[in-house]
Symmetry: C2
C-alpha cells in the first residue's frame, strides 16, 4: 500500500483549509511537496492580512521557494483544495511547477474558465481529488456566512 | 497646466523601474495613486527575494491595501511601466482597482493576450503612457544581460 498518495497530501491541504475556516477565512488550503516531503503549508489569509494576494497558493509558492532557496518549483507538486484562480495560475506558470493537484472545481473564478493556455505547457494537472470534502468545507462556510 | 497627469505618475513608476535596473532586477516599476497622492511604490524584486510572485504590481497592491487598511483598491489608480501579466491582472481583478495605466506593451506575457475578460469589468485601462521610456529601459536591461 502506497503511503504518499494524492489523497494523503490533499488531506494535508484540507487540514490547512480547516484552519482557514476556524480563522473565518474562505477555507482553502495548500501544501507543496517535493520528494514526498511537504516543504510548504499555507491557507487563505486574505481577511486577516487585508490583502487580496494572500491566497493559499501564493503563500505556499513563496514559502516553498524560500525553503528551496530558488524561485523555480521544478520537481514540486502543489496540492490545493480549490481550483486555482487566474492570479494563482499565473503565479504557478512563473514558478515552473511540475504538477498541480486540486480538489474542488471553481466554476466562477477557476483558471480553467479561460480557454487559452494559462499554466506552463509542461505542468501536469490532476483534478477532483477528495473533491467532496474540499467543496463541502466551502459550502459549509458560505452557508454560515449567509445566516 | 495640470500637475498630476498620467505622465507625471508614470514618471514616478519609471523611477521605481530604474531602481530595479540598478538592483539587477527586470526593470518594472509601479505606483498606486489615490486622490492624486502616491500611497504605494514598488519595483520588481523577484531575483532578490527568490520569489516569482514579487512583481512590482503585487507588492504595490499589498502596500496600498496596507496603507488603506482594507483590501479593496476602489478609487485607486495603478501606474505600471509594463503591461501586467496574468498573475498581476488576476490580483488587480480581486482588488477591484478603479483604473490601470501602463507604459510598454508585453506581447509575450501581457494579460491582453487572453481574449476573455481578465480584469474586473468596471476597471478602466489606459495604455502606452511614456511607452518609449518604459520599453527602452527593458530593452537596455536585456541587451546588457545578453552581453
Amino acid at each position: 500500500m502506497e503511503l504518499y498518495t494524492d489523497e494523503y497530501f490533499m488531506n494535508e491541504a484540507l487540514k490547512e483549509a480547516q484552519k482557514a475556516f476556524q480563522a473565518d477565512e474562505v477555507p482553502v488550503g495548500a501544501v507543496i511537496v517535493a520528494n514526498n516531503q511537504i516543504i510548504a503549508r499555507a491557507h487563505n489569509y486574505t481577511e486577516r492580512l487585508n490583502d487580496v494576494t494572500a491566497h493559499a497558493e501564493m503563500q505556499a509558492i513563496t514559502a516553498a521557494a524560500n525553503y528551496i532557496g530558488g524561485k523555480y518549483l521544478t520537481n514540486c507538486t502543489l496540492y490545493v483544495t480549490l481550483e486555482p484562480c487566474l492570479m494563482c495560475a499565473g503565479a504557478l506558470q512563473w514558478s515552473h511547477i511540475t504538477k498541480i493537484v486540486y480538489g474542488a472545481h471553481d466554476d466562477k473564478k477557476g483558471y480553467s474558465k479561460i480557454n487559452q493556455h494559462v499554466l506552463h505547457p509542461k505542468t501536469l494537472v490532476t483534478k477532483g481529488i477528495l473533491e467532496d470534502n474540499c467543496s463541502r468545507l466551502l459550502k459549509d462556510f458560505f452557508a454560515l456566512k449567509r445566516k
